[in-house]
């Protein structure tokens, strides 16, 4: 059996084990051990991948393919390159920290959580368009119940809105995938094989648009981002973490792996439209965050801005910018997970997320507050943390283009950094420093050990990327070779 399939089988086994479980201790054991194993498997995949990479020049490693539906050439085909390995690592880290942030949740919550994990890991290892789409939908549907049942605030509205918008995206995607399959000759669904075939140009236009928008909905592409603030705000802590940290990356990854890779010519010709839209996401998201008073809404809009930057960089179609895009996916995934877990810590104690009602939390819960400051610094791009590396790479890569249009857009996008600093520093100053506004808050305790665990783990990863970016960067840069070959054909 292929080592990659283990990543899907472990969550599946966990799900089945949870279905027969009775008490909370058993549930906790299953999920911690299970997601620990997933993390171990992800690290093992990374190690094996690095060993293979040293001796092989193939674009995809650890591949295996089994015929599933022969009449439509559907295979269960898996394989990874450097980018998917990093995404798998990110997902496994966020997944286990999410478990610790959801320490007191009941069994049913984790059943859906495991289903979500199956979808996420299956998606990142898939090389076949059909299985990729299948896992994509598997990852989306649990969100409805995770938010609808265990969320707070306008949870039913948010759950319905999020599910329907993302499913509408996947409806676009389904049409696009069928278009790719049949216009490329109807002989294979394998992404690597499809990239060797040519899709007629008149079809590329509409297929590219459908696929890019389809994935873009999940990647918070303006104007399809509106599910994100409501959804993230209503979701329970660990679901926000996994959703903003990992699920939104599914969108960026898909745009890159399917839309750009398979239809490079349309990407060249249509990129300007989507560059404008993503540019709006970047700037609008940042300004939107400034206006919010709810901690989760601030972070949700900030996610729109940061994820918009991922799509923005991908559409620049230059190798440096794309490296930055992948780095940004990692960086944003980690720091937004950290943000949401800390917001969860604060909210579970103060029972408010309104920044106007809080103040001086540094005195009350120093550990959580310090972590929050670190997350804020990562978000506004302080050197030494991951945010700086990724944004720097993106903007340098984008500015490599010599045409005025892209340069102007890049300059406009960089303004988001300044705005980010505004809302981060304002929140930190208001909530963490200053006098304690509410005397009741003085009685509150700091983070529990399980909450500390997830915060520390995430901070370590953020710092690791910030301090030693070249290792990660190198892997990404090399893995971009096949895409660049496609793009440079035109």
């Amino acid at each position: 059996m292929n080592i990659l399939s283990v990543l899907v089988i472990i969550p599946l086994a966990m799900l089945l084990a949870l279905l027969v479980s009775r008490n909370r201790a058993y549930v906790r054991t299953v999920v911690t051990v299970g997601f620990g194993l997933v993390l171990a498997a992800a690290v093992a995949v990374a190690v094996v991948f690095l060993q293979e990479r040293a001796v092989s020049s193939e674009a995809m490693l650890l591949t295996s393919s089994t015929v599933w539906y022969a009449p439509l050439n559907i295979h269960y085909a898996v394989g990874v390159d450097g980018i998917s390995v990093l995404m798998i690592l990110l997902s496994s880290v966020v997944a286990i920290t999410g478990v610790f942030s959801a320490w007191n949740m009941e069994r049913d919550f984790f059943v859906w959580y495991c289903l979500l994990a199956i979808g996420v890991f299956g998606y990142f290892i898939s090389l076949d368009l059909f299985t990729m789409f299948l896992f994509y939908e598997v990852a989306l549907i649990p969100m409805f119940l995770l938010i609808g049942v265990w969320g707070n605030g306008k949870k039913e509205y948010a759950a319905m809105k999020l599910t329907l918008m993302l499913m509408a995206g996947s409806a676009f995607l389904l049409t696009g995938i069928l278009g790719i399959y049949f216009t490329a000759g109807g002989t294979t669904m394998n992404i690597m094989e499809l990239s060797q075939m040519s899709i007629p140009m008149n079809h590329q236009y509409w297929i590219f648009s459908l696929v890019f928008i389809g994935f873009g909905v999940l990647g918070a592409l303006f104007p399809f981002h509106t599910w994100s603030p409501d959804g993230h705000a209503a979701a329970p802590t660990s679901v926000s973490m996994l959703h903003a940290g990992v699920l939104m990356k599914l969108g960026g990854y898909g745009c890159f792996r399917v839309a750009i890779f398979l239809m490079p010519q349309a990407a060249h010709e249509l990129s300007w439209i989507f560059l404008i839209l993503t540019g709006i996401s970047v700037v609008y998201g940042a300004y939107g965050a400034v206006l919010q008073t709810d901690l989760k809404y601030i972070n949700a809009y900030s996610s729109v801005s940061h994820c918009g930057l991922v799509l923005f960089a991908i559409l620049m179609l230059s190798r440096t910018a794309m490296t930055g895009a992948v780095l940004q996916m990692l960086s944003h995934g980690l720091m937004t997970a950290l943000f949401f877990s800390l917001i969860g810590v604060i909210y579970s104690r103060t029972h408010t997320r309104d920044i106007r009602e809080m103040g001086g939390l540094m005195k009350v819960m120093p550990f959580a507050s310090v972590c929050y400051v670190v997350a804020g610094f990562a978000s506004l791009g302080l050197p030494g943390l991951s945010g700086f590396v990724s944004e720097m790479t993106i903007f340098v890569g984008s500015f490599e283009h010599t045409d005025t249009f892209r340069r102007v857009l890049t300059i406009l996008a960089t303004t988001s950094i300044v705005v980010t600093a505004v809302y981060i520093l304002r929140t930190v100053g208001k909530v963490l420093f200053g006098p304690v506004l509410n005397p009741d808050h003085l009685k509150l305790g700091d983070a529990h050990w399980y909450e500390r665990f997830s915060a520390v783990a995430l901070i370590l990863c953020i710092a690791a990327i910030g301090i030693w970016p070249s290792g990660v960067q190198h892997v990404i840069y090399e893995s971009l070779q096949p895409v660049m070959e496609q793009i440079n054909l035109f």
Partner: protein, 473 residues
């Protein structure tokens, strides 16, 4: 006379035998304690018949081309058998519960009679036999709709159904008379070679199609469906929405291919429009429903629209995708109706509000219902995802991307109303009087297990599709 012709009809003969055994049993044991064996007997006989159907396959025609049997027709009959078996399993509990004014045995006997009519529809090689089959299938179905004869709604449903049936049969017969007038034959084979595109044949085809469209409940011939579905006893609704609809689709597919192949230009555009309208109208009306049976009526109207996606190109891939879709639809829809029957038997309620908090009171029923609606909405890893994918692929194969796009976007609308049910069951709080745990009898449990297994396995195990795909026209 050569009696070997009859052997070719072994499926019909088997069903006829079951029918006769049951009717004799019902007559002689009707009022005695022996009657408690009726239900196990009926289920057992049909189960044996269903399983046997998969083993004996014989190609050929009988009675001078009047009757046709081959791999495809046998497969179609097998699918109908599975559906009927599930309905048999689900019906018993309700039949026992009702007042003594109705006879338990008759339900099974009448259902077997309609199934016999559907066999004839599918195996027909001549429009006369097809017509006889349709009548045999429809008239007893009206009895099933009016089965709760003391209830106004059920009687109304029966009356509506019989009027609709008579009307649509009349229209179909009218169309057939035109076709006969133009070609001088009723045999499929001869008509296919003689038929040409003249105003008369086109008109004849359109009337014939309209007659079938009533049965499939395509928009604008769907008006009867919600009323009949709501008024009929729930097992009848399940039967009408799945088995009866499937048979009509099969017949449409076979006649389009075997008779009207040369008129593709006519039926393609006609059906394209009807398909789109059916999907959209079914979806939009389903959103507004508060009664779960009406809700499933509209949902099954829009599902019929998706089925048409595979039919309207008349391609080989469309054929396998359609048959596969119907199989998955059968499991999904019958699972939903199994739950509806259980809830209705306990609470007597059919509004969606009756499902509030079902997960807290009856987690297993709620899970089955959730899987059923997710499968209908096309969520992986359930069968509905695969069947939708294949049926969209069959339309995309012909380059009909606009239709595929309309259909995929409509799946999102359908997801909205399916999620309403999930929301009611999982998120809403249960009403105070819903606290009791419902007990479903063992037959209904078996039917739900069968349906859930079908939904989960038919998709993930690719062998089913491969098996269907290997059987061409």
């Amino acid at each position: 006379m050569d009696f070997s012709n009859f052997l070719m009809m072994h499926q019909e003969l088997g069903l006829l035998a079951i029918f006769l055994i049951l009717i004799v049993f019902d007559i002689f044991a009707g009022e005695t304690p022996v009657m408690k064996w009726f239900r196990p007997l009926a289920v057992f006989l049909l189960a044996v018949h269903t399983v046997a159907g998969f083993f004996v396959v014989e190609d050929g025609t009988a009675f001078g081309g009047m009757y046709v049997t081959n791999d495809l027709t046998v497969l179609m009959k097998n699918i109908l058998n599975i559906g009927t078996l599930v309905v048999f399993l689900q019906a018993g509990e309700w039949l026992r519960k009702e007042d003594k004014g109705i006879r338990e045995g008759e339900f099974y006997v009448i259902t077997a009679a309609t199934l016999f009519g559907m066999y004839l529809m599918i195996s027909a090689g001549n429009f006369m036999l097809l017509y006889i089959g349709i009548e045999t299938a429809s008239l007893p179905a009206a009895c099933l709709a009016a089965y709760k004869k003391h209830q106004e709604k059920s009687a109304e449903a029966g009356a509506k159904y019989i009027l609709m049936t008579a009307f649509s049969s009349g229209i179909m017969m009218f169309g057939l008379s035109y076709l006969y007038g133009a070609t001088g034959t009723m045999y499929f084979e001869d008509m296919q070679s003689l038929i040409t595109m003249t105003p008369m044949t086109v008109l004849g085809f359109v009337f014939f199609f309209a007659g079938l469209a009533f049965k499939i409940s395509l928009v604008p011939f769907h008006m009867w469906a919600p009323d009949v579905y709501e008024g009929s006893p729930t097992p009848t609704t399940a039967y009408l929405s799945v088995v009866s609809k499937a048979a009509a689709v099969f017949v449409l597919m076979l006649t389009l291919h075997h008779v009207f192949g040369g008129m593709e230009k006519v039926w393609y555009y006609l059906m394209w429009v009807i398909t789109v309208v059916t999907i959209v109208v079914g979806n939009l009306f389903a959103i507004r429903q508060n009664d779960i049976k009406r809700f499933f009526a509209y949902s099954s109207i829009s599902q019929a629209g998706y089925i048409m996606l595979g039919v309207l190109h008349g391609s080989e891939m469309g054929l396998s995708a359609t048959v596969y879709f119907i199989l998955v639809y059968l499991f999904s829809n019958l699972a939903a109706f199994g739950v509806i029957t259980s809830v209705e038997n306990r609470t007597g309620r059919t509004e969606i509000a009756a499902y509030n908090g079902l997960y807290k009171t009856n987690p297993k029923l709620a899970l089955v219902m959730m899987l059923a609606v997710f499968s209908l909405a096309g969520i992986p890893p359930l069968g509905g995802f695969f069947s939708k994918f294949f049926i969209f692929a069959s339309a995309a194969e012909q380059g009909d991307y606009i239709l595929v796009f309309i259909a995929t976007v409509n799946t999102v609308i359908s997801l909205y109303y399916y999620l309403r049910i999930v929301k009611a069951m999982f998120i809403n709080e249960p009403a105070a009087d819903m606290g009791e745990v419902m007990r479903t009898d063992v037959y209904n449990k078996a039917s739900l297990v069968l349906c859930v297994a079908g939904m989960l396995l038919v998709g993930v195990v690719s062998g089913v599709y491969d098996y269907i795909d290997a059987i061409g026209f």
